[in-house]
């Protein structure tokens, strides 16, 4: 046993005095994930009362790990509208009890004779605390009943910075 300890001392003594401090170590990867794509013709919404909802379950995010390990969340949108009427978009988030946690609203204008289709890109930063309570979401799109031609396309990509640090 003495020889064992001697060898340990021998090894540990052949070092300099630097501090092996890893308390500031953290990993912060930036990730992008396709979240949803929606495409429909004008008459599809007319057939159901000029408003339609697209429900999605995102309970994979609704937990304490989200609050702990997600530093920021941003939703990036791309919309392309050739429907002859503006489109009202509401992205509503709910918790497990069905209570709304937050929502994003946007109106996409109708195309004109010179600009068709309308193409827009926009971003929305989401509060991480609200997102960690969210298990469901619904994309609700409304349009006037006079909408008759064209199609609407929406793409959404989730961009997030994760944080993994020594505790």
């Amino acid at each position: 046993m003495r020889l064992f300890l001697l060898s340990i001392l021998f090894i540990t003594s052949c070092t300099d005095d630097r501090a092996l401090d890893y308390t500031e170590f953290e990993i912060t990867p930036n990730v992008e994930l396709n979240l949803v794509e929606i495409e429909y013709p004008a008459f599809a919404i007319n057939a159901v009362g000029n408003s339609i909802g697209f429900p999605i379950d995102i309970d994979v995010f609704g937990n304490d790990l989200t609050n702990t390990n997600i530093k920021s969340i941003q939703l990036n949108f791309f919309v392309e509208n050739s429907i002859n009427q503006p489109q009202d978009i509401s992205l509503v988030f709910y918790d497990t009890s069905g209570v709304e946690t937050f929502r994003i609203e946007k109106t996409i204008g109708a195309p004109s004779a010179s600009v068709n289709p309308i193409i827009e890109r926009f971003e929305e930063i989401v509060d991480v605390d609200f997102f960690s309570k969210t298990t469901q979401a619904e994309m609700i799109i409304s349009q006037p009943s006079s909408a008759s031609t064209g199609t609407f396309r929406l793409e959404c990509v989730l961009e997030s910075t994760l944080i993994l640090e020594d505790e």
Binding site: L3, F4, S7, F10, I11, C14, T15, D16, R18, A19, L20, D21, Y22, E24, F25, E26, I27, P29, N30, V31, E32, L33, N34, L35, V36, E37, I38, E39, Y40, P41, F43, A44, A47, V48, I52, G53, F54, P55, I56, D57, I58, D59, V60, N76, F77, F78, E80, R121, M139, R153, E155, C156, V157, E159, T161, L162
Partner: protein, 460 residues
């Protein structure tokens, strides 16, 4: 055991941090060297025994790309790690090995020296999956690239080896030896032959990324110790683990070592050994987990066409679970031991001053040399990684009591290293010490591997 004039009791406190054993190889006065070459030209004794637990403990850790200084230096740690990850390639790996000799006994019967014993060992190697590390550290945002899952490759094994060997002096030139081994493994895990890619590419139009898993096939095979189900570590002692499961595993296999030493001339000797030519058949407590997929992911899709107004509720987690199925089934498999090859060439010269009785201690003996130059090569293929070392050594003995050896060589860690060995055989005590990587011993924080070995023998 006709002659019991010499009774050698070997206390070997050996602590070795390296897979390099060139300094121990062909040490003809040390019975531990029989495990490296069963055909060693062993300076025969009548009997030896090593004490359980107290003999020959060995531990090794090393990697091909990083040292402590690469991580902990004057730069902020996050910058240092980022630079280290950028410098890693998929051919780099981390390896570890550990060995504890449980007991060893040797005896001479007629012209054959027998030895038997048991040792517990563990070893493993993990390749750095370069792409996966970059994905985990940097993420995929803005990267516009693919990530290769085929870089995931690791293997680990925990086993106890029971062995029985024979060493025979065939004639004045030739020694032959062989050793049979019974392996009992208590834990084995391997993930090899993985393939597939995760693609995250910028789109040619729109916003959605071209995200997909192509030709994905991941597998993990595990056998043996099921600590999670059988034991709760807080409620059991290490003693229970060692005796019940670690020392005597449920999965068994067989192997053999062979070796020889041959004198090409009076002062020129060639040695060679093949170790651990064997396998273990894993059929108890086995499980194989696989994940396969070929999947283009555009997000949760609501694509309505004319007449289609039925809107399903889509679940993000279910979307992935349905398209990336993971299965788990019992699965037996054969795992080969990491076979090792040693090759050595020794040239002996000089003359020994005799310290025998009734001698002129200043007169050179004609029947004994006191110096040698040797070359030793070692190779091992394990989990697709090639381990090697190549060393040149010079040894000198003084009065057949003091043995000094120096070495210069290189290995898979791609650095030159100097080693030294010192053995003292005085009165009833034999002490030896082997130190590798002397060039980095001043500050081990710059080293990628470490090596120290020492032992104590008692002769009666």
């Amino acid at each position: 055991m006709k002659h019991l004039c010499f009774f050698i009791l070997v206390f070997s406190f050996s602590l070795l941090f390296s897979q390099d054993k060139h300094l121990l190889y062909n040490q003809k006065h040390n019975p531990q060297a029989l495990l490296l070459n069963p055909g060693l030209a062993y300076e025969s004794t009548h009997f030896h025994v090593s004490l359980p637990v107290l003999s020959n403990f060995y531990a090794s850790v090393g990697n091909t790309s990083l040292s402590v200084d690469d991580i902990f230096n004057s730069n902020p740690i996050n910058s240092a790690i980022e630079e280290a990850i950028s410098g890693i390639s998929k051919s780099d790996f981390v390896s570890f090995s550990q060995k504890a000799e449980l007991f060893q006994v040797g005896w001479k019967f007629r012209d054959i020296y027998f030895s038997t014993g048991a040792y517990q060992e563990s070893y493993g190697v993990i390749n750095f999956p370069e792409d996966i590390l970059e994905l985990a550290y940097f993420g995929n945002a803005g990267q516009n690239r693919s990530y290769d899952f085929g870089q995931i490759n690791f293997k680990a094994n925990l086993q106890t080896v029971f062995h029985f060997g024979m060493n025979k002096k065939v004639n004045d030139k030739l020694h032959l030896g062989a050793r049979a081994k019974l392996y009992t493994s208590s834990f084995n895990a391997r993930s090899q032959d993985n393939r597939g890619q995760f693609n995250s590419l910028e789109p040619s139009s729109g916003l959605l990324l071209e995200q997909s898993l192509t030709n994905l096939s991941l597998n993990l095979e595990i056998a043996g110790l099921d600590v999670g189900n059988e034991y709760y570590l807080g409620n059991i002692s290490m003693r229970d683990l060692l005796i019940n499961d670690v020392l005597f595993g449920l999965n068994m296999g067989f192997g053999v070592d062979v070796g020889l030493s041959y004198r090409l001339r009076d002062n020129l000797e060639i040695t060679a050994s093949l170790l651990d030519l064997g396998f273990i058949n894993f059929s108890n407590d086995v499980e194989k987990q696989t994940a396969t997929s070929d999947y283009d992911y555009d997000g949760l899709s609501f694509l309505l066409s004319s007449g289609s107004i039925s809107i399903p509720r889509l679940d993000l987690l279910e979307e992935f679970e349905d398209n990336v199925p993971v299965s788990s089934i019992p699965h037996s498999y054969l795992d080969m031991q990491p076979a090792k090859v040693n090759l050595g060439l020794t040239y002996e010269f000089g003359s020994n001053l005799s310290n025998a009785e009734a001698c002129n201690c200043f007169k050179a003996r004609e029947d004994s040399t006191n110096q040698s130059l040797s070359v030793h090569g070692f190779g091992m293929l394990y989990a697709g990684n090639f381990f090697y070392s190549l060393n040149a050594m010079y040894q000198r003995s003084f009065w057949e009591s003091l043995y000094a050896k120096i070495s210069l060589g290189t290995n898979q860690y791609n650095t030159f290293n100097y080693g030294a060995s010192l053995a003292l055989d005085v009165w009833k005590v034999n002490v030896f010490m082997n130190i590798n990587r002397l060039n980095e011993i001043r500050n081990v924080y710059f080293s990628k591997s470490l090596a120290l070995q020492f032992g104590m023998n008692f002769k009666f």
